[in-house]
């Protein structure tokens, strides 16, 4: 119970930071919107846009997540707050889960308008339900947030961290992009073969593995003096 309360306190702090500096979130939104626009122009023609809608959403989210992860750790190292947190009586696991959860929420806050924008610009079909789409978006954002938080924590300790972050992050989330894009496509275009479950299961397994394992690695690297 105490652990959960502390996790929520960390989440609250993160979201409060986003709230007090709205330029961070709007920056992400503008970034992903511009990316969606650019991607449409990089396609061979308007007729393929409905087919690549899911890909546009997830590409936008992955690229936006590198920015948001970088930002979320920059506030922590700015005045030594991360070290302060480690010295505060709060377990490192709590810090990790709080930050990862907050990052997932921020990503979802980007994902919803981004999906709406893709609907407007790319005209994908919509066969599945909005609930299904929501589940896929949530699982996908969580699957980006947990390893992303760990990798950002690793990268901030090195020189040139914002350049290092994608180098470590992109290979790690290949399965997320794959599974989330497949699942989203199946939700959008209809799923006659009933395959969406397999992809969602893959996302779920990825989520479970990273939300448990990465916390241990995180505590190992931040609390070692």
């Amino acid at each position: 119970m105490r652990g959960l309360r502390l996790v929520l306190a960390v989440v609250r702090k993160e979201l409060l930071l986003e709230w007090r500096d709205p330029s961070r979130l709007t920056g992400l939104l503008v970034f992903s919107a511009a990316l969606t626009l650019l991607l449409a122009f990089a396609m061979p023609g308007v007729h393929v846009l409905p087919d690549v809608a899911a890909g546009a959403i997830w590409l936008g989210l992955v690229l936006a997540s590198t920015r948001s992860l970088d930002q979320s750790f920059r506030t922590e190292v700015e005045n030594g707050a991360l070290e302060g947190l480690v010295l505060w009586p709060v377990p490192s696991l709590v810090i990790f889960h709080g930050k990862a959860l907050a990052n997932a929420i921020v990503l979802l806050l980007v994902a919803v308008p981004l999906t709406a924008l893709v609907f407007v610009l790319y005209h994908p079909r919509m066969h599945g339900s909005v609930v299904d789409l929501g589940v896929v978006l949530t699982l996908g954002c969580m699957a980006l947030a947990a390893p992303g938080t760990l990798v950002a924590a690793i990268a901030t300790q090195a020189r040139g961290s914002s350049a290092l972050l994608p180098v470590l992050f992109f290979p790690l989330v290949v399965p997320v992009v794959l599974a989330a894009t497949r699942a989203t496509t199946l939700v959008l275009e209809g799923d006659p073969m009933d395959q969406v479950g397999a992809w969602v299961k893959l996302l779920l397994v990825f989520d479970l593995a990273h939300w448990t394992l990465d916390g241990l690695l995180f505590s190992r690297i931040v609390d070692e003096g």
């Binding site: 105490r2 306190a9 409060l16 007090r20 005045n79 707050a81 009586p89 070692e224």
Partner: protein, 223 residues
């Protein structure tokens, strides 16, 4: 009851020893003045005592328990104040305090704390707009959230005007009155001597001199 003890405490960064076999003893409820030029290892010593750094040799104990081994339990009672203020720039003073308190499961009286360090009325201005002195005061309030038993204070009087020094001095007196153990690192022996009984002078990571805090002034003046 024994307070803070260090035995042959040593720490290196890379291949450079910055702290060499430091022996300390601070009885519970007393203050130690930590003197020494820049780069003499004062900050590293404080960070080791705060369990931010693992010593590479030797041990440090607080109230009989090993600092590093029992760090998760002891961090509840140790406060480190340094130039790293731990503040979130975009939050207001009150939000900083309440967020940090919530993350440690503390329930402090935030307005009273802000009043204690003379920051009431700063409103909802983000810390970004604060002066260096105001940040120091807010960082002090943040440390008080813990109600610490061991206070490690790096340069308590830097970046402060006379009024700020007054505030910090008042808080330090109050902490000593509550039985907290203090370690103050400073260039200004005269300012710190008021709160401390003993003084130690570090040079090149080693203890070069130790004696009553009242005599410390001369040592600094000579150097």
């Amino acid at each position: 009851m024994s307070g803070l003890r260090a035995h042959e405490l040593s720490r290196r960064f890379g291949n450079r020893w910055v702290l060499v076999r430091v022996d300390l003893e601070v009885p519970a409820g007393e203050g130690l003045l930590l003197l020494g030029p820049n780069g003499s290892g004062k900050t590293t010593l404080l960070r080791c005592l705060a369990t931010a750094l693992k010593p590479h040799h030797g041990t440090a104990t607080f109230e009989g328990t090993d600092l590093w081994a029992a760090r998760h339990a002891l961090r509840d009672r140790i406060a480190l104040l340094s130039h790293a203020t731990r503040l979130y720039e975009d939050l207001s003073a009150a939000q900083n305090l309440s967020c940090w308190a919530a993350m440690g499961d503390y329930r402090p009286d935030v307005p009273a704390l802000l009043h204690r360090v003379g920051l009431d009325g700063t409103g909802s201005k983000p810390v970004r707009a604060f002066s260096a002195g105001m940040r120091r005061r807010l960082a002090l309030a943040l440390a008080l959230v813990k109600q610490p038993r061991l206070v490690l204070f790096d340069e308590p009087f830097s970046a402060l005007d006379p009024q700020g020094r007054e505030v910090v001095g008042g808080v330090l007196d109050e902490l000593r009155g509550q039985g907290a153990t203090l370690v103050l690192s400073t260039h200004h022996a005269s300012l710190g001597a008021r709160f401390c009984t003993r003084a130690v002078r570090l040079e090149a990571g080693r203890i070069a001199w130790t004696g009553p805090a009242a005599e410390a002034r001369d040592v600094v003046a000579d150097a």
